[in-house]
Amino acid sequence: MMVGTFDTILAVGLNGKTYYIHWGWFQISAANLVVIVMMVLVFVLAIVVPFPGRRR
């Protein structure tokens, strides 16, 4: 019952199986990899996307 309530509030269930990605000796959870990729993406976008009003 509590799990259902928790899932409803979060909108995304976090109680499922955790996925891991392996490259030889290197292992990382898919969730952590997604966050790192998003940070890199946001960092690159922050550099290349023009800031509004820059040319004023």
């Binding site: 509030i9 960092f43 550099i47 800031f51």
Partner: protein, 223 residues
Amino acid sequence: MTTTERGAAKRSWTAGLRRAGMQALPPERLLPDEQPVYVASWVYVFGVLTIAALVIVIGSGVVLALKGPTWWHVSSVGLFFNSVHVWSVELFFFFMVVHLWAKFFMAAWRGRRALTWVTGAVSFVVSIGAAFTGYLSQQNFASQWIASQAKDGLNSVGIGAFFNVLDFGQMFTWHVVLLPLGIVVLVVAHVLLVRKHGVVPPLPIRSEPATQTTAPVPERDGR
């Protein structure tokens, strides 16, 4: 007030502190209404985004501390605030890491800004401790698992007796009092140092002389 009394007042520690404060951070530098043109870039917004996330973290944390573990585990509103707290922490670290990358790649310690860099780096380390003790304060199986795993590592470096991750009371106090206080003090110092020395400019292009590495913002002490 006589001349002697006025002289004594000027030598008092409050007057000295006021003079030092006004010299280091005059009002127009403490609360500026304009910034150098290079600040008009998305890469410069992640510092303030980090602080915005920290405000949400502390606000939701205050509510959780007021109501307690039973409330945040059982009631719908409690679960909501628990989620707000954890996701704002996620955003806090997300923005802080991007801010760190941006400042690292523009060598933000240039122009006498070493202490600004250090306070930011130490804030990051203390924040990791705050997040860790937060995981230990959840009062669920995840926190028990994390504590039982962490105790071996901390014991191996000899601090387990002083910093006992199996002691909920100790970890909760670190999480809600000591570490947040440390973070707030460090962040305030960090922001005041940014105000004092100005926002770090981008690195000069290769054709420019290497000496142009300090901010073009005029500073009172000529630095």
